[in-house]
Protein backbone atom coordinates (compact mmCIF):
# COMPACT_ATOMS: atom_id res chain seq x y z
CA UNK A 1 0.00 0.00 0.00
CA UNK A 2 1.50 3.27 -1.10
CA UNK A 3 -0.22 6.11 0.68
CA UNK A 4 1.03 8.76 -1.70
CA UNK A 5 -0.72 6.98 -4.57
CA UNK A 6 -3.87 6.63 -2.48
CA UNK A 7 -3.95 10.35 -1.78
CA UNK A 8 -3.38 11.13 -5.44
CA UNK A 9 -6.32 8.89 -6.34
CA UNK A 10 -8.51 10.69 -3.80
CA UNK A 11 -7.41 14.02 -5.27
CA UNK A 12 -8.41 12.83 -8.74
CA UNK A 13 -11.81 11.62 -7.48
CA UNK A 14 -12.41 14.95 -5.74
CA UNK A 15 -11.53 16.75 -8.95
CA UNK A 16 -14.07 14.64 -10.82
CA UNK A 17 -16.71 15.49 -8.22
CA UNK A 18 -15.84 19.16 -8.58
CA UNK A 19 -16.42 18.95 -12.31
CA UNK A 20 -19.72 17.12 -11.87
CA UNK A 21 -20.82 19.67 -9.29
CA UNK A 22 -19.90 22.55 -11.56
CA UNK A 23 -21.79 20.96 -14.46
CA UNK A 24 -24.91 20.46 -12.35
CA UNK A 25 -24.72 23.94 -10.88
CA UNK A 26 -24.43 25.60 -14.25
CA UNK A 27 -26.95 23.42 -16.05
CA UNK A 28 -29.67 24.02 -13.50
CA UNK A 29 -29.05 27.73 -13.71
CA UNK A 30 -27.84 28.18 -10.16
CA UNK A 31 -24.86 30.17 -11.34
CA UNK A 32 -25.34 33.47 -13.08
CA UNK A 33 -22.42 32.49 -15.22
CA UNK A 34 -23.33 34.50 -18.31
CA UNK A 35 -26.39 36.63 -18.51
CA UNK A 36 -28.48 34.19 -20.46
CA UNK A 37 -30.35 35.92 -23.22
CA UNK A 38 -33.84 36.20 -21.79
CA UNK A 39 -36.52 34.84 -24.04
CA UNK A 40 -38.87 37.65 -24.87
CA UNK A 41 -41.72 37.40 -22.39
CA UNK A 42 -44.68 35.82 -24.15
CA UNK A 43 -46.80 36.38 -21.09
CA UNK A 44 -48.98 33.71 -19.61
CA UNK A 45 -49.90 31.29 -22.38
CA UNK A 46 -51.99 28.76 -20.50
CA UNK A 47 -55.42 28.47 -22.10
CA UNK A 48 -56.68 25.43 -20.23
CA UNK A 49 -56.63 26.77 -16.67
CA UNK A 50 -60.10 26.60 -15.12
CA UNK A 51 -59.69 29.49 -12.69
CA UNK A 52 -58.06 32.86 -12.08
CA UNK A 53 -58.00 32.29 -8.32
CA UNK A 54 -54.70 31.48 -6.62
CA UNK A 55 -55.54 31.65 -2.92
CA UNK A 56 -57.83 28.87 -1.64
CA UNK A 57 -58.21 29.44 2.10
CA UNK A 58 -60.58 26.57 2.94
CA UNK A 59 -59.19 26.43 6.48
CA UNK A 60 -60.07 30.09 6.92
CA UNK A 61 -56.80 31.01 8.64
CA UNK A 62 -56.49 34.25 6.68
CA UNK A 63 -58.59 37.38 6.87
CA UNK A 64 -60.13 38.77 3.66
CA UNK A 65 -57.55 41.55 3.63
CA UNK A 66 -54.71 39.08 4.01
CA UNK A 67 -56.07 37.00 1.15
CA UNK A 68 -56.20 40.11 -1.01
CA UNK A 69 -52.65 41.06 -0.12
CA UNK A 70 -51.46 37.58 -0.95
CA UNK A 71 -53.17 37.69 -4.36
CA UNK A 72 -51.28 40.87 -5.15
CA UNK A 73 -48.01 39.45 -3.95
CA UNK A 74 -48.53 36.30 -6.00
CA UNK A 75 -49.46 38.22 -9.14
CA UNK A 76 -46.28 40.25 -8.86
CA UNK A 77 -44.05 37.21 -8.43
CA UNK A 78 -45.78 35.15 -11.08
CA UNK A 79 -44.63 37.74 -13.58
CA UNK A 80 -41.10 37.61 -12.24
CA UNK A 81 -40.81 33.83 -12.12
CA UNK A 82 -43.08 33.01 -15.09
CA UNK A 83 -44.71 30.44 -12.85
CA UNK A 84 -48.20 29.96 -11.42
CA UNK A 85 -48.06 30.21 -7.63
CA UNK A 86 -50.95 28.61 -5.77
CA UNK A 87 -51.85 28.38 -2.09
CA UNK A 88 -54.38 25.94 -0.61
CA UNK A 89 -55.21 25.74 3.09
CA UNK A 90 -57.57 23.10 4.43
CA UNK A 91 -58.80 21.78 7.75
CA UNK A 92 -59.91 18.20 7.27
CA UNK A 93 -58.46 14.72 7.44
CA UNK A 94 -57.14 13.41 4.15
CA UNK A 95 -57.12 9.82 5.33
CA UNK A 96 -60.03 8.91 3.07
CA UNK A 97 -59.06 11.15 0.20
CA UNK A 98 -59.57 9.44 -3.16
CA UNK A 99 -57.06 10.37 -5.88
CA UNK A 100 -58.78 12.14 -8.81
CA UNK A 101 -57.02 10.35 -11.64
CA UNK A 102 -56.55 6.74 -12.71
CA UNK A 103 -52.79 6.41 -12.41
CA UNK A 104 -51.60 4.53 -9.34
CA UNK A 105 -50.22 6.59 -6.47
CA UNK A 106 -49.28 5.18 -3.06
CA UNK A 107 -51.72 6.13 -0.29
CA UNK A 108 -50.14 4.55 2.76
CA UNK A 109 -49.06 7.54 4.88
CA UNK A 110 -50.27 11.08 5.58
CA UNK A 111 -47.42 12.35 3.37
CA UNK A 112 -48.82 10.25 0.50
CA UNK A 113 -52.34 11.59 1.07
CA UNK A 114 -51.47 15.28 1.06
CA UNK A 115 -49.14 14.77 -1.87
CA UNK A 116 -51.95 13.23 -3.90
CA UNK A 117 -54.28 16.04 -2.83
CA UNK A 118 -51.81 18.78 -3.84
CA UNK A 119 -50.88 17.20 -7.17
CA UNK A 120 -54.51 16.53 -8.03
CA UNK A 121 -55.50 20.11 -7.14
CA UNK A 122 -52.89 21.36 -9.58
CA UNK A 123 -53.77 18.88 -12.33
CA UNK A 124 -57.56 19.21 -12.14
CA UNK A 125 -57.37 23.01 -12.36
CA UNK A 126 -54.82 22.80 -15.19
CA UNK A 127 -52.52 25.28 -13.45
CA UNK A 128 -49.24 26.22 -15.15
CA UNK A 129 -47.87 29.49 -16.49
CA UNK A 130 -47.06 28.28 -19.97
CA UNK A 131 -49.46 25.35 -20.33
CA UNK A 132 -52.12 23.44 -18.44
CA UNK A 133 -50.30 20.12 -18.77
CA UNK A 134 -47.10 19.82 -16.68
CA UNK A 135 -46.81 23.62 -16.83
CA UNK A 136 -44.47 25.79 -14.83
CA UNK A 137 -45.42 26.53 -11.26
CA UNK A 138 -45.80 25.53 -7.66
CA UNK A 139 -48.58 24.77 -5.21
CA UNK A 140 -48.45 24.83 -1.43
CA UNK A 141 -51.04 22.73 0.40
CA UNK A 142 -51.20 23.26 4.17
CA UNK A 143 -53.56 21.08 6.20
CA UNK A 144 -54.47 22.52 9.62
CA UNK A 145 -56.19 19.30 10.65
CA UNK A 146 -54.21 17.09 13.02
CA UNK A 147 -54.28 13.62 11.43
CA UNK A 148 -55.25 10.98 13.98
CA UNK A 149 -52.96 8.59 12.13
CA UNK A 150 -49.80 10.23 13.47
CA UNK A 151 -51.00 13.25 15.45
CA UNK A 152 -49.38 15.73 13.03
CA UNK A 153 -50.45 18.50 10.68
CA UNK A 154 -49.04 18.04 7.18
CA UNK A 155 -47.84 20.43 4.51
CA UNK A 156 -46.87 19.68 0.91
CA UNK A 157 -45.15 21.73 -1.75
CA UNK A 158 -45.88 20.41 -5.22
CA UNK A 159 -43.72 21.53 -8.16
CA UNK A 160 -44.27 21.31 -11.89
CA UNK A 161 -42.44 22.21 -15.10
CA UNK A 162 -39.60 24.69 -14.60
CA UNK A 163 -40.18 24.77 -10.85
CA UNK A 164 -39.80 20.98 -10.78
CA UNK A 165 -36.53 21.27 -12.67
CA UNK A 166 -35.23 24.11 -10.59
CA UNK A 167 -36.20 23.03 -7.07
CA UNK A 168 -34.33 20.08 -5.61
CA UNK A 169 -34.95 18.57 -2.18
CA UNK A 170 -32.64 21.15 -0.75
CA UNK A 171 -34.63 24.15 -2.00
CA UNK A 172 -37.99 22.60 -1.14
CA UNK A 173 -36.81 21.99 2.42
CA UNK A 174 -35.61 25.55 2.68
CA UNK A 175 -38.99 26.92 1.52
CA UNK A 176 -40.92 24.71 3.93
CA UNK A 177 -38.57 25.67 6.76
CA UNK A 178 -39.24 29.33 5.99
CA UNK A 179 -43.00 28.72 6.06
CA UNK A 180 -42.85 26.81 9.34
CA UNK A 181 -40.95 29.67 10.99
CA UNK A 182 -44.11 31.75 11.31
CA UNK A 183 -46.94 29.38 10.51
CA UNK A 184 -48.25 29.09 14.05
CA UNK A 185 -48.04 32.76 14.97
CA UNK A 186 -48.71 34.50 11.66
CA UNK A 187 -49.91 32.35 8.76
CA UNK A 188 -50.07 35.34 6.42
CA UNK A 189 -46.42 36.04 6.99
CA UNK A 190 -45.56 32.36 6.57
CA UNK A 191 -47.39 32.08 3.23
CA UNK A 192 -45.90 35.36 2.05
CA UNK A 193 -42.44 34.03 2.63
CA UNK A 194 -43.42 30.94 0.62
CA UNK A 195 -44.12 33.20 -2.33
CA UNK A 196 -41.11 35.48 -1.97
CA UNK A 197 -38.68 32.69 -1.19
CA UNK A 198 -39.84 30.65 -4.16
CA UNK A 199 -39.41 33.71 -6.31
CA UNK A 200 -35.95 34.35 -5.00
CA UNK A 201 -34.89 30.83 -5.88
CA UNK A 202 -36.39 30.89 -9.35
CA UNK A 203 -34.77 34.17 -10.32
CA UNK A 204 -31.45 33.01 -8.89
CA UNK A 205 -30.52 36.51 -8.02
CA UNK A 206 -29.22 36.23 -4.45
CA UNK A 207 -26.64 34.36 -2.45
CA UNK A 208 -29.06 31.99 -0.76
CA UNK A 209 -30.37 30.62 -4.03
CA UNK A 210 -26.96 30.47 -5.59
CA UNK A 211 -24.69 27.47 -5.94
CA UNK A 212 -25.48 24.66 -3.54
CA UNK A 213 -22.71 23.88 -1.10
CA UNK A 214 -23.62 21.34 1.56
CA UNK A 215 -21.42 21.23 4.62
CA UNK A 216 -22.72 19.10 7.44
CA UNK A 217 -21.29 17.49 10.56
CA UNK A 218 -20.06 14.50 8.61
CA UNK A 219 -18.15 16.68 6.13
CA UNK A 220 -15.90 17.77 8.96
CA UNK A 221 -15.98 14.82 11.36
CA UNK A 222 -15.20 11.94 9.01
CA UNK A 223 -12.16 13.53 7.33
CA UNK A 224 -10.97 14.62 10.78
CA UNK A 225 -11.18 11.10 12.16
CA UNK A 226 -9.58 9.76 8.98
CA UNK A 227 -6.73 12.26 9.10
CA UNK A 228 -6.06 11.52 12.77
CA UNK A 229 -6.17 7.78 12.09
CA UNK A 230 -3.75 8.17 9.20
CA UNK A 231 -1.47 10.26 11.36
CA UNK A 232 -1.50 7.76 14.21
CA UNK A 233 -0.96 4.83 11.86
CA UNK A 234 2.09 6.21 10.08
CA UNK A 235 3.58 8.05 13.00
CA UNK A 236 4.13 5.05 15.21
CA UNK A 237 7.58 3.81 14.17
CA UNK A 238 7.33 0.15 13.52
CA UNK A 239 10.35 -1.35 15.17
CA UNK A 240 10.07 -4.75 13.58
CA UNK A 241 8.07 -7.56 14.97
CA UNK A 242 9.44 -10.13 17.39
CA UNK A 243 8.77 -13.59 16.02
CA UNK A 244 10.94 -15.65 18.28
CA UNK A 245 8.60 -17.88 20.23
CA UNK A 246 9.56 -20.18 23.04
CA UNK A 247 9.99 -23.21 20.87
CA UNK A 248 12.76 -21.80 18.72
CA UNK A 249 15.51 -22.66 21.16
CA UNK A 250 14.33 -26.08 22.20
CA UNK A 251 16.70 -28.88 21.53
CA UNK A 252 14.90 -31.50 19.53
CA UNK A 253 17.88 -33.37 18.22
CA UNK A 254 18.49 -37.04 18.94
CA UNK A 255 20.75 -36.51 21.92
CA UNK A 256 18.53 -33.82 23.37
CA UNK A 257 15.39 -34.46 25.36
CA UNK A 258 13.14 -31.61 24.19
CA UNK A 259 10.31 -30.97 26.66
CA UNK A 260 9.88 -33.31 29.58
CA UNK A 261 6.96 -33.25 31.94
CA UNK A 262 8.60 -34.48 35.11
CA UNK A 263 5.65 -33.89 37.39
CA UNK A 264 2.08 -32.76 36.84
CA UNK A 265 -0.68 -32.78 39.46
CA UNK A 266 -4.03 -31.05 39.65
CA UNK A 267 -5.41 -31.89 43.07
CA UNK A 268 -8.91 -30.89 44.17
CA UNK A 269 -8.94 -28.94 47.43
CA UNK A 270 -12.45 -27.61 48.14
CA UNK A 271 -15.36 -25.70 46.60
CA UNK A 272 -18.16 -23.31 47.53
CA UNK A 273 -21.40 -22.16 45.91
CA UNK A 274 -23.00 -18.72 45.92
CA UNK A 275 -26.38 -17.71 44.61
CA UNK A 276 -28.10 -14.55 43.49
CA UNK A 277 -31.59 -13.52 42.46
CA UNK A 278 -31.78 -12.39 38.84
CA UNK A 279 -33.03 -8.87 38.05
CA UNK A 280 -34.60 -8.19 34.65
CA UNK A 281 -34.89 -4.96 32.57
CA UNK A 282 -35.56 -3.71 29.03
CA UNK A 283 -35.53 -0.60 26.58
CA UNK A 284 -36.67 0.91 23.08
CA UNK A 285 -36.35 3.71 20.26
CA UNK A 286 -37.63 5.26 16.77
CA UNK A 287 -37.19 7.76 13.63
CA UNK A 288 -38.16 8.67 9.84
CA UNK A 289 -37.87 10.85 6.47
CA UNK A 290 -38.41 11.05 2.48
CA UNK A 291 -37.85 12.89 -1.06
CA UNK A 292 -39.31 13.96 -4.64
CA UNK A 293 -39.86 13.16 -8.43
CA UNK A 294 -43.05 11.16 -9.16
CA UNK A 295 -46.24 10.75 -11.25
CA UNK A 296 -49.55 12.09 -9.91
CA UNK A 297 -52.84 10.23 -10.21
CA UNK A 298 -53.52 12.31 -13.31
CA UNK A 299 -50.37 10.95 -14.92
CA UNK A 300 -48.46 14.24 -14.65
CA UNK A 301 -44.83 14.63 -13.58
CA UNK A 302 -44.40 16.45 -10.31
CA UNK A 303 -41.63 17.17 -7.87
CA UNK A 304 -42.28 18.03 -4.27
CA UNK A 305 -41.60 17.59 -0.63
CA UNK A 306 -43.45 17.72 2.66
CA UNK A 307 -43.01 18.66 6.29
CA UNK A 308 -45.23 18.14 9.31
CA UNK A 309 -45.78 19.81 12.63
Amino acid sequence: MNYRKLLTALAVLTLILLIVWLALTISTGRLNFSDEAEEPDAGRTNTQCTTEERVFDYADVLSDQEEEDLRELIAKHEQKTKCDIVLVTLNESLQNYQPAGSYYVPMETPENWIRAYADDFWDTHYFGYNTGLEGDGVLLADDWYREPYDGKMHTWLSTSGSAYARLGDYEIDRILDEVYEDIETDPFRAYSSYVTYFSKIMTSGSVSSGPVIVIDWYTVLFPLILALAVFAYFWRSRKGRITVDENTYINRTAEGRGIQVLQSHDRFLHKHVTRQRIVRSEGGGGGGGFGGGHISSGGMSHGGGGHSR
Partner: protein
Protein backbone atom coordinates in the same frame (compact mmCIF):
# COMPACT_ATOMS: atom_id res chain seq x y z
CA UNK B 1 45.42 -11.44 5.24
CA UNK B 2 43.53 -10.80 2.06
CA UNK B 3 42.47 -12.75 -0.99
CA UNK B 4 44.22 -11.65 -4.15
CA UNK B 5 42.94 -12.39 -7.65
CA UNK B 6 45.43 -14.31 -9.79
CA UNK B 7 44.20 -12.77 -13.01
CA UNK B 8 44.09 -9.09 -12.24
CA UNK B 9 45.43 -8.65 -8.73
CA UNK B 10 42.13 -7.29 -7.38
CA UNK B 11 40.79 -7.83 -3.87
CA UNK B 12 38.41 -10.77 -3.83
CA UNK B 13 35.18 -10.98 -1.88
CA UNK B 14 32.81 -13.71 -0.75
CA UNK B 15 29.65 -13.90 -2.89
CA UNK B 16 26.56 -14.88 -0.87
CA UNK B 17 24.64 -15.66 -4.03
CA UNK B 18 27.16 -18.14 -5.41
CA UNK B 19 28.95 -19.27 -2.23
CA UNK B 20 32.34 -18.66 -3.78
CA UNK B 21 35.22 -16.15 -3.72
CA UNK B 22 34.58 -13.62 -6.45
CA UNK B 23 36.69 -10.89 -8.07
CA UNK B 24 34.56 -7.76 -8.75
CA UNK B 25 37.21 -6.32 -11.09
CA UNK B 26 37.56 -9.10 -13.63
CA UNK B 27 34.46 -11.10 -12.61
CA UNK B 28 36.50 -14.21 -12.07
CA UNK B 29 35.56 -16.91 -9.62
CA UNK B 30 37.76 -19.16 -7.49
CA UNK B 31 40.84 -17.48 -8.95
CA UNK B 32 42.26 -16.15 -5.72
CA UNK B 33 45.14 -16.84 -3.46
CA UNK B 34 45.50 -16.11 0.22
CA UNK B 35 48.10 -13.48 1.01
CA UNK B 36 49.08 -13.65 4.65
CA UNK B 37 50.44 -10.83 6.75
CA UNK B 38 50.94 -10.77 10.48
CA UNK B 39 51.39 -7.03 10.83
CA UNK B 40 48.05 -5.52 11.87
CA UNK B 41 48.96 -1.87 11.67
CA UNK B 42 49.31 -1.18 7.96
CA UNK B 43 47.59 -2.29 4.79
CA UNK B 44 49.72 -4.92 2.97
CA UNK B 45 48.78 -3.51 -0.43
CA UNK B 46 49.20 0.25 -0.08
CA UNK B 47 50.84 0.72 3.32
CA UNK B 48 48.21 3.06 4.70
CA UNK B 49 47.50 2.74 8.42
CA UNK B 50 44.72 0.33 9.39
CA UNK B 51 42.07 1.45 11.89
CA UNK B 52 41.00 -1.71 13.64
CA UNK B 53 39.78 -0.32 16.94
CA UNK B 54 39.57 -2.65 19.92
CA UNK B 55 37.40 -5.29 18.32
CA UNK B 56 37.61 -5.04 14.52
CA UNK B 57 38.54 -8.35 12.86
CA UNK B 58 37.74 -7.55 9.24
CA UNK B 59 37.46 -4.23 7.41
CA UNK B 60 38.15 -2.42 4.16
CA UNK B 61 41.30 -0.34 3.74
CA UNK B 62 40.16 3.28 3.58
CA UNK B 63 42.87 4.13 1.10
CA UNK B 64 42.99 1.38 -1.53
CA UNK B 65 39.78 -0.55 -0.89
CA UNK B 66 41.40 -3.92 -0.19
CA UNK B 67 39.33 -6.16 2.08
CA UNK B 68 41.50 -7.12 5.03
CA UNK B 69 41.14 -9.81 7.66
CA UNK B 70 43.29 -9.42 10.76
CA UNK B 71 44.88 -12.78 11.35
CA UNK B 72 45.41 -12.62 15.07
CA UNK B 73 41.76 -11.71 15.51
CA UNK B 74 40.50 -14.87 13.83
CA UNK B 75 42.95 -17.32 15.33
CA UNK B 76 43.46 -19.15 18.61
CA UNK B 77 41.08 -17.90 21.28
CA UNK B 78 39.46 -15.55 18.80
CA UNK B 79 38.82 -18.21 16.21
CA UNK B 80 35.05 -18.66 15.97
CA UNK B 81 33.83 -22.21 16.37
CA UNK B 82 31.11 -21.71 13.83
CA UNK B 83 29.79 -19.19 11.35
CA UNK B 84 26.58 -18.62 9.41
CA UNK B 85 27.80 -17.10 6.13
CA UNK B 86 25.92 -14.29 4.45
CA UNK B 87 23.06 -15.67 2.32
CA UNK B 88 21.64 -12.32 1.28
CA UNK B 89 23.55 -9.97 -1.00
CA UNK B 90 23.97 -6.29 -0.28
CA UNK B 91 21.58 -5.46 -3.12
CA UNK B 92 18.92 -7.76 -1.70
CA UNK B 93 19.23 -6.16 1.74
CA UNK B 94 18.90 -2.70 0.19
CA UNK B 95 15.83 -3.88 -1.74
CA UNK B 96 14.10 -5.21 1.35
CA UNK B 97 14.69 -1.98 3.21
CA UNK B 98 13.25 -0.04 0.34
CA UNK B 99 10.24 -2.35 0.17
CA UNK B 100 9.62 -2.12 3.89
CA UNK B 101 9.88 1.63 4.27
CA UNK B 102 9.26 2.91 0.78
CA UNK B 103 5.51 3.23 1.06
CA UNK B 104 5.48 5.18 4.29
CA UNK B 105 4.74 8.82 3.64
CA UNK B 106 6.17 10.34 6.82
CA UNK B 107 9.69 9.09 6.21
CA UNK B 108 12.01 11.68 4.64
CA UNK B 109 12.63 10.73 1.02
CA UNK B 110 16.47 10.63 1.16
CA UNK B 111 16.22 7.73 3.62
CA UNK B 112 15.30 5.33 0.82
CA UNK B 113 17.59 7.05 -1.64
CA UNK B 114 19.67 4.44 -3.48
CA UNK B 115 22.96 6.21 -2.88
CA UNK B 116 22.36 6.49 0.84
CA UNK B 117 21.25 2.86 1.05
CA UNK B 118 24.38 1.62 -0.69
CA UNK B 119 26.32 2.83 2.34
CA UNK B 120 24.86 -0.18 4.14
CA UNK B 121 27.43 -2.17 6.11
CA UNK B 122 27.65 -5.96 5.97
CA UNK B 123 29.15 -7.17 9.23
CA UNK B 124 29.75 -10.47 10.96
CA UNK B 125 28.57 -9.91 14.52
CA UNK B 126 30.16 -11.94 17.32
CA UNK B 127 27.67 -14.03 19.31
CA UNK B 128 27.86 -16.33 22.26
CA UNK B 129 25.49 -19.29 21.88
CA UNK B 130 24.55 -21.01 25.11
CA UNK B 131 22.92 -24.37 25.68
CA UNK B 132 20.85 -24.73 28.84
CA UNK B 133 19.23 -27.65 30.61
CA UNK B 134 16.42 -25.99 32.52
CA UNK B 135 13.81 -27.14 35.01
CA UNK B 136 10.91 -25.11 36.26
CA UNK B 137 9.06 -26.01 39.42
CA UNK B 138 5.68 -24.43 39.80
CA UNK B 139 3.05 -24.65 42.52
CA UNK B 140 -0.12 -22.64 42.62
CA UNK B 141 -3.86 -22.66 43.12
CA UNK B 142 -6.27 -22.91 40.23
CA UNK B 143 -9.94 -21.90 40.28
CA UNK B 144 -12.64 -23.40 38.14
CA UNK B 145 -16.02 -21.70 37.93
CA UNK B 146 -19.34 -23.23 37.02
CA UNK B 147 -22.52 -21.20 36.68
CA UNK B 148 -26.11 -22.21 36.14
CA UNK B 149 -29.62 -20.83 36.47
CA UNK B 150 -32.57 -22.39 38.22
CA UNK B 151 -35.87 -20.48 38.28
CA UNK B 152 -34.99 -16.89 39.10
CA UNK B 153 -31.78 -17.76 40.92
CA UNK B 154 -28.26 -17.80 39.48
CA UNK B 155 -25.79 -20.22 41.05
CA UNK B 156 -21.98 -19.96 40.95
CA UNK B 157 -19.74 -22.80 42.08
CA UNK B 158 -16.00 -22.15 42.54
CA UNK B 159 -13.68 -25.15 42.88
CA UNK B 160 -10.08 -24.85 44.08
CA UNK B 161 -7.22 -27.07 42.93
CA UNK B 162 -3.62 -27.41 43.91
CA UNK B 163 -1.56 -27.16 40.73
CA UNK B 164 1.91 -28.67 40.64
CA UNK B 165 4.19 -28.76 37.64
CA UNK B 166 7.78 -29.75 37.12
CA UNK B 167 8.86 -29.20 33.53
CA UNK B 168 12.29 -29.91 32.08
CA UNK B 169 13.41 -28.31 28.81
CA UNK B 170 16.73 -28.45 27.00
CA UNK B 171 17.58 -25.28 25.10
CA UNK B 172 19.97 -25.24 22.19
CA UNK B 173 21.85 -22.27 20.76
CA UNK B 174 20.32 -19.48 22.82
CA UNK B 175 22.01 -16.37 21.45
CA UNK B 176 23.49 -13.30 23.11
CA UNK B 177 25.13 -10.72 20.87
CA UNK B 178 28.64 -9.93 22.04
CA UNK B 179 29.09 -6.58 20.33
CA UNK B 180 28.45 -3.46 22.37
CA UNK B 181 27.98 -1.20 19.37
CA UNK B 182 25.06 -3.27 18.05
CA UNK B 183 21.79 -2.43 19.78
CA UNK B 184 20.72 -5.50 21.77
CA UNK B 185 16.99 -5.02 21.31
CA UNK B 186 17.25 -4.67 17.58
CA UNK B 187 19.55 -7.68 17.35
CA UNK B 188 16.92 -9.70 19.25
CA UNK B 189 14.34 -8.62 16.74
CA UNK B 190 16.13 -9.86 13.65
CA UNK B 191 16.23 -13.34 15.14
CA UNK B 192 15.67 -16.20 14.55
CA UNK B 193 18.70 -17.50 12.72
CA UNK B 194 18.49 -20.94 11.18
CA UNK B 195 21.32 -22.86 12.83
CA UNK B 196 21.03 -25.70 10.33
CA UNK B 197 23.02 -23.46 8.02
CA UNK B 198 25.72 -22.89 10.61
CA UNK B 199 29.03 -24.27 9.42
CA UNK B 200 32.69 -24.53 10.42
CA UNK B 201 34.54 -21.26 10.33
CA UNK B 202 36.73 -20.22 7.42
CA UNK B 203 38.11 -16.70 6.90
CA UNK B 204 36.95 -16.85 3.27
CA UNK B 205 33.40 -16.09 4.34
CA UNK B 206 34.57 -12.81 5.80
CA UNK B 207 36.18 -11.42 2.64
CA UNK B 208 34.31 -8.28 1.63
CA UNK B 209 32.59 -7.78 4.98
CA UNK B 210 33.34 -6.19 8.30
CA UNK B 211 33.76 -8.26 11.41
CA UNK B 212 34.23 -8.04 15.14
CA UNK B 213 35.53 -10.23 17.89
CA UNK B 214 33.53 -10.73 21.06
CA UNK B 215 33.76 -7.60 23.16
CA UNK B 216 33.59 -9.47 26.47
CA UNK B 217 33.90 -13.08 27.63
CA UNK B 218 30.93 -15.42 27.57
CA UNK B 219 30.08 -15.07 31.25
CA UNK B 220 29.21 -11.42 30.92
CA UNK B 221 26.49 -12.22 28.43
CA UNK B 222 24.91 -15.10 30.31
CA UNK B 223 22.19 -12.87 31.72
CA UNK B 224 20.88 -12.10 28.26
CA UNK B 225 20.65 -15.67 27.07
CA UNK B 226 19.45 -16.92 30.44
CA UNK B 227 16.60 -14.40 30.38
CA UNK B 228 15.47 -15.71 27.01
CA UNK B 229 15.62 -19.33 28.15
CA UNK B 230 13.75 -18.56 31.37
CA UNK B 231 11.04 -16.68 29.51
CA UNK B 232 10.63 -19.62 27.18
CA UNK B 233 10.30 -22.22 29.90
CA UNK B 234 7.83 -19.97 31.74
CA UNK B 235 5.59 -19.97 28.71
CA UNK B 236 5.96 -23.70 28.14
CA UNK B 237 5.01 -24.37 31.73
CA UNK B 238 2.02 -22.05 31.52
CA UNK B 239 0.86 -23.88 28.44
CA UNK B 240 0.63 -27.12 30.41
CA UNK B 241 -1.90 -25.56 32.77
CA UNK B 242 -5.41 -25.33 31.36
CA UNK B 243 -9.03 -25.31 32.31
CA UNK B 244 -8.75 -22.74 35.08
CA UNK B 245 -10.36 -19.34 35.17
CA UNK B 246 -7.63 -18.03 37.46
CA UNK B 247 -4.28 -19.45 38.49
CA UNK B 248 -2.52 -17.96 41.50
CA UNK B 249 1.14 -19.00 41.85
CA UNK B 250 2.44 -19.75 45.33
CA UNK B 251 5.96 -20.68 44.34
CA UNK B 252 7.81 -20.71 41.10
CA UNK B 253 11.49 -21.18 40.38
CA UNK B 254 13.65 -21.98 37.42
CA UNK B 255 16.93 -23.83 37.57
CA UNK B 256 18.98 -23.42 34.39
CA UNK B 257 22.30 -25.13 33.89
CA UNK B 258 24.57 -23.88 31.12
CA UNK B 259 25.97 -26.97 29.47
CA UNK B 260 27.69 -25.51 26.43
CA UNK B 261 28.95 -22.25 25.05
CA UNK B 262 30.07 -21.45 21.53
CA UNK B 263 31.58 -18.38 19.98
CA UNK B 264 30.10 -17.85 16.52
CA UNK B 265 29.80 -15.17 13.87
CA UNK B 266 26.34 -14.28 12.54
CA UNK B 267 25.70 -12.12 9.43
CA UNK B 268 23.96 -8.74 9.75
CA UNK B 269 23.48 -5.76 7.45
CA UNK B 270 23.40 -2.41 9.20
CA UNK B 271 22.10 0.77 7.62
CA UNK B 272 22.61 4.01 9.50
CA UNK B 273 20.88 7.24 8.62
CA UNK B 274 21.35 10.54 10.35
CA UNK B 275 18.33 12.83 10.68
CA UNK B 276 17.55 15.69 13.01
CA UNK B 277 20.77 15.18 14.97
CA UNK B 278 19.97 11.54 15.70
CA UNK B 279 21.24 8.26 14.26
CA UNK B 280 18.70 5.77 12.99
CA UNK B 281 19.82 2.14 12.58
CA UNK B 282 18.10 -0.47 10.45
CA UNK B 283 19.26 -4.05 10.81
CA UNK B 284 18.72 -6.80 8.27
CA UNK B 285 19.34 -10.44 9.14
CA UNK B 286 22.06 -11.46 6.66
CA UNK B 287 20.70 -14.99 6.45
CA UNK B 288 16.90 -14.61 6.47
CA UNK B 289 16.44 -10.99 5.40
CA UNK B 290 14.28 -10.08 8.40
CA UNK B 291 14.28 -6.35 9.11
CA UNK B 292 14.28 -4.53 12.44
CA UNK B 293 14.80 -0.90 13.26
CA UNK B 294 13.25 2.49 13.49
CA UNK B 295 13.01 4.84 10.55
CA UNK B 296 13.09 8.60 11.04
CA UNK B 297 9.79 10.45 10.77
CA UNK B 298 9.61 13.99 9.48
CA UNK B 299 7.16 16.22 11.33
CA UNK B 300 6.90 18.40 8.26
CA UNK B 301 5.82 15.51 6.05
CA UNK B 302 3.46 14.23 8.72
CA UNK B 303 1.77 17.62 8.96
CA UNK B 304 1.50 17.96 5.19
CA UNK B 305 -0.04 14.53 4.68
CA UNK B 306 -2.43 14.85 7.61
CA UNK B 307 -3.69 18.24 6.45
CA UNK B 308 -3.93 17.02 2.86
CA UNK B 309 -5.95 14.02 3.98
CA UNK B 310 -8.34 16.19 5.95
CA UNK B 311 -8.61 18.80 3.20
CA UNK B 312 -9.25 16.32 0.40
CA UNK B 313 -11.67 14.32 2.53
CA UNK B 314 -13.53 17.50 3.39
CA UNK B 315 -13.77 18.68 -0.22
CA UNK B 316 -14.75 15.23 -1.40
CA UNK B 317 -17.63 14.97 1.07
CA UNK B 318 -18.66 18.58 0.50
CA UNK B 319 -19.04 18.10 -3.24
CA UNK B 320 -20.66 14.70 -2.80
CA UNK B 321 -23.21 16.14 -0.38
CA UNK B 322 -23.86 19.16 -2.59
CA UNK B 323 -24.37 16.99 -5.65
CA UNK B 324 -26.73 14.73 -3.75
CA UNK B 325 -28.79 17.71 -2.60
CA UNK B 326 -29.11 19.00 -6.14
CA UNK B 327 -30.42 15.75 -7.52
Amino acid sequence: MHYKCNNCGGSMVYSPAEDVLYCPHCEGRNCGVLVSQKDMDVCPVCGAPVEAGDFGSAMQCGNCGTYLILENRVEDSYRPQKIIPFKITKEQAVESIRKEFGGRPFIPRPFTDHKALMGIEGVYVPYWLHDYNSVERFTGTGQRVRMWTHGDMQFRETSYFEVIREIGVDFDNVPADASDRMDDDLMDMIEPYNYDQMTDFSPEFMAGFNGEIYNRPSQEYVIRSRTKADKAIRKITDDTIHGYAVVTPTSQNIDARKVKEQYVLLPVYKYTYRFGGKNYDIFVNGQTGKIAGEAPTSVGLAAKYTIATFGLGFLFLMFAGSIAAML
